[in-house]
């Protein structure tokens, strides 16, 4: 009899949890359920667990329980106040070696991607980056189900499913917003296990001298409910004024396709797609975006998509719930007018 552990790394900075961590707890719970039958038959137990690092972050550990963690391994040290690659990866590696999880999921955020490669290399195990699909599947030659991690490659033109046969844990980094939030259960109970990993002086040599908060716009398109995105069809950078106006009317934010960002029409923070952000808003309006695969993979999980393009054959229409073939410079102003009218009627 053995314990099969499904781990999630809880990402927090300054006591604030990145939402992808909760999304991954949902995924871990599902993956655990996919091996439940097999584990029962073999007399194994299955556990959904988290690892959390930081300084005075126990309250976050309790939150994790409510999102589905049976147990949280907590390393709470002043040294871990701010994220740094070396002390973080070495601490995690220490705890992983002690408990031997079968699967470990990390959010594919800037922090998570910095960390995941280091952890995987130190453990000499396989890591699949930026996954958009995860399941525990049967694989010929393996008694237990393995983690099948699917990710886009070549700018989203190909989906590759990757597995890691022998090394453990099977690691994946997962993009925010690909998976839904799990239910929150305020009555849930679970253990919090404090761990200590001794660090060398050398491990903490690199230090953060300063934090610069960009006073300029900080757009959070990842978690916006409404996104209005513009593409090359806008013709000029000024075209984004119209996009902004529509986004403003809808209480949403402005997104953009890669060519606009590459051309310097708008900052990278707005870029939706494989090389930008994955988004999952309630409403996504794509205007003048042809719909290259690399864009589509970043927005196709939106609840409702309206596409506006003058080319009836634009691939963006393949993912749209409804497409309007026409000149965006006619359609959007009319849309703004209609929305204003509706809002007035509601008020």
């Amino acid at each position: 009899m053995s314990a099969r552990r499904f781990w999630v790394f809880i990402e927090q900075e300054g006591g604030k949890v990145h939402q992808v961590s909760w999304e991954l707890l949902g995924v871990a719970s599902r993956l655990a359920s996919e091996v439940k039958e097999e584990a029962d038959a073999a007399g194994d137990t299955v556990h959904v667990e988290c690892i959390l690092l930081g300084n005075q972050v126990e309250s976050i550990a309790r939150e994790a329980v409510k999102y589905g963690a049976e147990r949280v391994y907590l390393i709470d040290e002043p040294e871990l106040e701010n994220y740094r690659n070396c002390p973080y990866y070495k601490s995690i590696v220490g705890v992983v070696r002690k408990y031997g999880p079968e699967v470990m999921l990390i959010g594919a955020t800037t922090l998570g991607r910095d960390l995941a490669g280091a952890v995987a290399t130190a453990l000499r195990t396989g890591l699949t980056a930026d996954c958009t699909g995860l399941e525990m599947g049967e694989v010929k030659g393996s008694k237990q189900r393995l983690l099948l991690a699917t990710r886009p490659a070549f700018g989203g033109n190909i989906m590759a499913t990757i597995l890691c046969r022998h090394s453990r844990p099977q690691m994946s980094s997962v993009r925010p917003r690909v998976f839904p939030m799990p239910p929150y259960n305020s009555d849930a109970v679970g253990d919090i296990v404090r761990e200590e990993v001794p660090l060398d002086e050398k491990d903490t040599e690199a230090c953060i001298l300063d934090f610069i908060h960009d006073q300029a716009e900080s757009v959070d398109i990842e978690y916006a409910d409404v996104i209005v995105s513009g593409g090359r069809g806008l013709g000029t950078p000024e075209g984004f004024k119209l996009i902004e106006e529509l986004a403003h009317e809808l209480g949403g934010v402005v997104g953009a396709s890669r060519p606009c960002v590459d051309a310097g029409w708008i900052s990278y923070a707005h870029q939706v797609g494989q090389s930008g952000r994955t988004v999952r808003p309630k409403l996504y309006i794509a205007a003048g975006i042809s719909g290259a695969l690399q864009h589509k993979v970043g927005m196709q999980n939106s609840d409702f998509i309206i596409a506006i393009n003058s080319d009836p054959n634009a691939p963006i229409f393949d993912v749209a719930d409804i497409g309007i073939v026409g000149d965006l410079f006619e359609v959007i102003p009319a849309m703004i007018k209609e929305i204003k009218a509706r809002k007035e009627a509601l008020a």
């Binding site: 190909i158 890691c164 300063d210 809808l250 209609e338």
Partner: protein, 279 residues
Amino acid sequence: MFHALVAIKQVPDTTNIRIDPETGNLVREGVPAIMNPYDTHALAAAVEWKRKLGGKVSIVSMGPPSFIVTIREAVELGADWGCLISDRKFAGADTLATSYVLATVIQTIHEKDPIDVVFFGKQAIDGDTAQVGPGVAVRLDLPIITYAVKIRDIDLVKRHIIVERKTEKWTEVVEAPLPALVTCEKEIAEVPFAPLPDLIRSLRYDPEMWTMDGPAVFDTEYIGVRGSPTIVFKMGTPPLPEAGEKINSREVGVEAAIATAFAKADAAGILQPILGGVK
């Protein structure tokens, strides 16, 4: 003297990739091969600091002999020396095996000619994994600074580097002891337009070819397919979602087209809560 080493990769220009309409396979033929754009900027930063401090820039790349052109491009942009690690036995490597080979080669170079800073692009545009840089840092036990947008200082006397790195929330100013490994965003440096003599030198430049047989010593356990814990289980094109309705505003009129679109969004329960929520 400053010694920078830049690890570069040749990648297909993913903006030009297309799918064969008959087979649904990726057509790589005719797709231009380029130096990974992030690597180009990392190289530009290395060259900038070489010019400031005096010293040299070395290049390593891994891949088939056709990658020589990419090393030549690096020489055009100001690199002084390059080697291509090329051996069929390295083929099929995943990020773990790749980081082993690169780390071994960098270590070998370092022993002969100590390196101050190892530069990587933040990720390659074909794989988008961003794993090899951190992997090499762990193997060489170097401090790593990812997502670097600016190098504030490299001090060869105090033996430190100060870098600005961009996270989702803020920009951090990080100091690390040398030698260090930095992975770079495009903002790190502008790619220069090389002077003609550099270009001509690069066209005639032949990089050193390193293989399994040397000069670096590899353990066959850790290279190629054997050294790669992950395998590709299957490949496919992304599933085509079902296309929704399309209305032509030139035919039905703009207002009618919008009315249809909004009616459908209403039916899906999308629009009302959004409009209701906006002040």
